[in-house]
């Protein structure tokens, strides 16, 4: 993860309890999506009380190339929390989702996740399980498609108005 200093505390926690072995220098570590909620709860108990953000990203299927092995269509959901104290340490991790899979919602732990998750659901189309009120946030309720997916045309028409 660039832009934020290395978070030793998080890495130790992930290595010891969550079985994470890889800590890439330019991206947050990958965590199993089944343990997403557990990790967030652990971190909240450790003092990461400020909810920062959630970022869902859509990846199109990719054939094997120099850049990497073959990849099916998938989503990545990155979450970040922060300690609201001296240093403002940031803890961030990613979860990988196949098409159709959902990720546990953090609303029970952090009320601020509500709108952020609704936004990601709306724009990227990632499902957040157990979200109490998963509606679209940005687009009208009857909009079709998820604009931030990579296969969504940027100039999609919407008949009487554009």
């Amino acid at each position: 993860m660039k832009g934020a200093p290395k978070n030793e505390e998080l890495e130790q926690l992930l290595a010891a309890e969550f079985g994470v072995t890889e800590f890439p220098s330019d991206a947050p570590p990958l965590v199993d999506r089944a343990r997403h909620l557990e990790l967030a709860a652990r971190l909240k108990a450790l003092g990461y009380r400020l909810y920062v953000t959630v970022v869902a990203t859509h990846y199109l299927p990719q054939a094997a190339s120099k850049a990497g092995p073959e990849q099916p269509e998938h989503f990545e959901v990155a979450t970040a929390l922060r300690k609201p104290t001296q240093g403002g340490t940031l803890a961030a991790w990613r979860c990988k989702l196949a098409v159709g899979e959902g990720i546990p919602s953090l609303v029970g732990l952090f009320a601020g996740a509500d709108w952020q998750e609704r936004e990601q659901f709306d724009l990227v189309g990632v499902r957040f399980d157990d979200h109490p009120d998963l509606r679209r946030l940005m687009m009208p309720d009857d909009w079709e498609g998820h604009p931030l997916r990579k296969d969504y045309a940027i100039d999609t028409a919407c008949t009487p108005w554009r």
Partner: protein, 252 residues
């Protein structure tokens, strides 16, 4: 612009019908036109950044009020709607509804590139490519955002226009420099575009009129209706001829 945009008012007709007063109509007319053009009450449709510049224009340094304008928060008491900011597809039905609620005579001033053409959001799925696809705009004030002084200039031109129209001397389209064809083509035909299908206005009015508490747009029914599908096909056909010109531009 069309010449029949000359505005009228019940008062004018009343005056013209009054026995004895018709001799004085011209001077009364002048007086009324002077009043109408110098007491423009503004309904700010301020959605985004241009709205802040609009506020700055209404505030101390530039002080729009000295031109007889008063900013009103309700459409029912206003003469001019100043559309300042980006209009999205979610907001557009509401803007149209507010415009329909304004009493005649009314004028519309598009402030900023977003209101004029959609600015660089023009091609985005959620932005209306210029409010003149659903509102009749009288004055365009370009800029991103226009300075308060420019807005003031726009209002002065609007006053000029009001007087000219009332006097029956509208400035025709011929005096404007021609706009290149590809720039005149947003994804929807404008109101003054001869190729604009009639159903478009109808559907827009329906969409605006059907707003309620629970509903955002009611677009699905509209789009899936026969009229909606026919319209979508027509619009697609209209857009088609412009398509080959676009890739050539993008190469630059």
């Amino acid at each position: 612009m069309e010449d029949d945009r000359a505005f009228t008012h019940p008062l004018y007709d009343f005056m013209a019908r009054m026995p004895g007063l018709d001799v004085a109509t011209t001077s009364v007319d002048k007086l009324l036109t002077w009043g109408a053009s110098n007491a423009l009450w503004i309904f700010p449709m301020a959605t985004s950044c241009c709205g802040i510049e609009f506020m700055a224009a209404a505030a101390s340094r530039v002080d729009l009020d000295r031109m007889g304008t008063i900013v009103r928060g309700t459409p029912r008491q206003s003469d001019v709607m100043v559309v300042a900011g980006t209009i999205t597809v979610k907001m557009a039905p509401r803007v149209k509804k507010l415009w329909d609620q304004m009493p005649e005579p009314k004028w519309c001033l598009a402030m900023g590139s977003c209101a004029i053409s959609g600015d660089f959001y023009r091609d985005i799925y959620s932005v209306v490519p210029g409010i003149d696809t659903f509102l009749p705009v009288d004055v365009y004030v370009p800029g991103c955002p226009p300075n308060p002084e420019e807005l003031m200039h726009g209002l002065l031109r609007l006053q000029e226009k009001i007087r000219a129209f009332r006097a029956g001397k509208p400035r025709g389209a011929a005096e404007r420099p021609p706009t290149p064809e590809h720039m005149r083509r947003p994804s929807l035909p404008r109101l003054d575009d001869p190729t604009r299908p009639d159903e478009l206005s109808l559907l827009q009015t329906q969409s605006a009129g059907s707003l309620g508490h629970g509903t955002e747009m009611n677009l699905i029914e509209l789009r899936r209706s026969k009229a909606g599908e026919a319209l979508a096909a027509k619009l697609a056909a209209l857009r088609a001829p412009a398509a080959p010109a676009e890739p050539a531009e993008k190469k630059e």
